[in-house]
């Protein structure tokens, strides 16, 4: 059947995926959530019309946003995941035995429920005893915390609409306060390729470097995301993402991955000249 979902990358570019079947559609208090079945990408999670993740390549995003800091910070015990109701980051986190506490702040309980049902291979670890789920506003949650976490992962949607607050200077400052003195903050950092997103990229980076002494950007190939060239931010109070990488220790933990390897770590932080320029402009 000719039924296609299009993710609009810009007003003039879209990625279109043939839909075999729509599995779910509902409006929550926060957003419209759809689950589509496709041949090429498996199941697709859509929020307010935007592609959030696909069964086929979510592993790239979730491994990259999780294992990069975990291979650098030597003793992460308490983690805060802001957003992340889909469970992908939690699935990666629970692979670390040393982790004691994983707080997930996801405003929308329907999102969690939908992912449990339609993406069981992703949401499989949300019941891990170390995980606490808070259906609260991420901004407010962080504001009340001080010196609590070793790692904060910001799994925010794009900086338009409801997630806007997760891209403000004030929010990054609150994350700084919520972290221990050697804490690390990771955030999804948009793509550097299309103009509007590149601009968001710059703005985010500018705001983060105002709060954190160390702030670096790394990248991954995520085919279902706009341009396929996706960035992440590594902001840190003390650890340097390259100098403090301990690949050997990480490897000995025997964490199974399909994208991340310590061998890739340095290359991820080596940005193409044009991306480096983009970032430098605001440093």
């Amino acid at each position: 059947m000719e039924m296609w979902f299009s993710d609009e990358h810009t007003d003039n570019v879209k990625l279109s995926i043939r839909v075999e079947q729509q599995l779910f559609s509902a409006q929550s208090e926060f957003q419209r959530i759809d689950v589509l079945e496709s041949k090429e990408f498996g199941r697709i999670l859509v929020a307010d019309g935007d592609l959030m993740l696909t069964e086929k390549d979510e592993f790239i995003y979730h491994e990259m946003i999780t294992h990069v800091p975990m291979a650098v910070h030597p003793h992460v015990e308490k983690v805060l995941v802001i957003g992340g109701g889909d469970g992908g980051i939690v699935r990666e986190l629970v692979k670390y035995d040393a982790l004691e506490k994983i707080d997930v702040v996801e405003a929308d309980p329907l999102l969690i429920e939908v992912c449990r049902k339609f993406f069981p291979q992703m949401a499989c670890s949300m019941n891990d005893p170390r995980v606490s789920i808070f259906n609260e506003d991420g901004l407010r949650f962080v504001r009340s915390k001080s010196d609590v976490y070793d790692l904060i992962i910001i799994d925010s949607p794009n900086p338009f609409g409801p997630g806007e607050g997760l891209f403000t200077k004030e929010f990054y400052g609150n994350c700084y306060n919520a972290l221990h003195s050697d804490g690390v903050m990771i955030n999804q950092h948009e793509s550097p390729f299309y103009k509007e997103e590149a601009f968001q990229c710059q703005r985010m980076h500018k705001r983060i470097i105002e709060s954190f002494p160390i702030s670096k950007i790394y990248q991954a190939h995520i085919p279902s995301y706009p341009s396929g060239h996706w960035l992440f931010g590594f902001a840190s109070k003390q650890y340097h993402p390259l100098n403090d990488l301990d690949g050997v220790t990480w490897t000995l933990k025997g964490i199974p991955t399909r994208y991340y390897l310590p061998r890739l770590h340095q290359g991820m932080f080596a940005l193409p000249a044009y991306v480096e320029e983009l970032v430098k402009d605001v440093e």
Copy 2:
């Protein structure tokens, strides 16, 4: 106006780009060639309905296919470019003063003419005195050469249709013979993400390692290509792409680039776990 060009990545996925205007369309002896004007990607070159390159991101492909070997091989003098009638690789090559001879074998003269006219910033160096253009079949051309080149760059389209011969074991063997004893062969190597292309990837790699003692794969982010995750093959008789990199010497040459930097070099060869597995399967 709602006029969109779609590049079909698979039967079930397509990238669609709004077309401002079609600037050119003609059928040559070899293929249908179209030039489209778009807001997001600038001018787009299309051959037989497939997106070949865009003004906005062709620099990534052309820098990556050219500067990676040029930063490794210490004294390239004679280069053969198979395909490459668009002039993008030549534009990068002529930045090297030490180069003496650049042979371009492009079967289709119309392609060259179209690129000269519609992509002047790309085809600008086709008149360099070191460049010789041969409107011949690439396979036949290489078969007649022995111990002539330091570097062969295979700028082939995809392995379906007319370019098919450029993906055979016999062809790679002939390239081996056409190279000096320390020669390097680079080829565009498709994407590892979608099934059909991943299979082509494997097949190519398998055929190349049968001819060359050193054969490595590297990658770049090319947003307009399927999945955005594009691979290149580095096949070599003697030089190792990482061990023999001389970034300092390369940097001193002062070659201006917008993507490639020696700092990125190692990271480019660090493949994600799932791509490495794909490649390993045939090694």
Copy 3:
């Protein structure tokens, strides 16, 4: 959300409708059945990827295929509907008190079930005591009948795939035999505009005039069908569609309609010059 269903009118033309939600999808023994919700057309029934009918304009098709013969034939008592599992024709037929028996031959029970559930305003009369539903093959059913019906309505899909047999000369001959000596046969007759369908149109007409002494074509505006210009065939043993029209009697019955009126009757049979030529070619 950018989710669109496209009905392919030809390889080079398609009507695309934004889908709010997919309400149903299943594969029956005979076909894949989908129900889509759209803003513009309401619910849409799709079989094997082809648009079958829409909530917004199904009334046009069903009124036109039903009331035209009912306003001509003076005493219809027994009707056979071949196909028509959606219930739209039955809904129109039950408006006639004089009707005694309505046999519906619909091979696919799932289609009936789906329409009962998702198109209640259309399938509402399938429980009328005069209606008998036969989940059988239409060809075989008709073959066994002789001199039974006053009216046969062939509500067939297009002449490709499973419905093919409903477009053969043999089938029309069997319908002839199943009718009383003053019986009328109506069939959906495709569109005259696009080449391939125009050809089917001709072929159908040619086959029908070989069986029936009177065979005329009439038309309606059905926006959701290819070209919007849709034809029906009126084949008859005795009654002439114009000369035997009794509009006054029909009007006195007080049948509520939204498209058909006896006033339109003559105009419906007045075909544009180019359509008349198409039809004449085979007469």
Copy 4:
């Protein structure tokens, strides 16, 4: 090649046509004009992104807007065409030997030029000695005329954007004045099917009946126009479109047509029940 032009019928419905080639594109003082080549519809004229006409079915529109009044009004000598720079109406008009004068008021000279070049079979009669072309504003032109024409044909685009003034009460009043005491005014009258256009339809009709004692609507099947069900307005000071039809005289003139025939005339004015209601609502 997958290059498609879409004509947006509503925000939620579009007709998409595969484009073989774009033949022309330019911005005039008034509008952007594009000419596309397609397999299914031949050449397509596009203004500001909207489909204006196609080579394949323009004959329907132009015959219907011209021959209907010409078969009713017994002695048309002077005609005013407002809009109509494409030449289609003129081509039909010059078939009448008795016509003495055809004034065409087309604001945009580029439109005329483009149609002469790319649609020669349509613009072929623009050089007829009886034709005068005025590159002026239609509203202003009509305002200065009194008791001059037997027939005014309003070949306006849709009532959004630059053509808006051609849909006002004042304009229809001026047309009334520009006509002789037995004059006829014809206008394209949008489609009754989609909500927004149906509303325009009503509004137009309401405004016309305020100026003309006789005002009737007729219809045709135009596949490339939204819904394929297109309306025309017949407004008249004296002649009735049905009572005063003289089909025999018209036929004797031997005017070649592919859609219009006097035999169809009455049926064209027989509107489906739902369209009649729409119109009645404002009468």
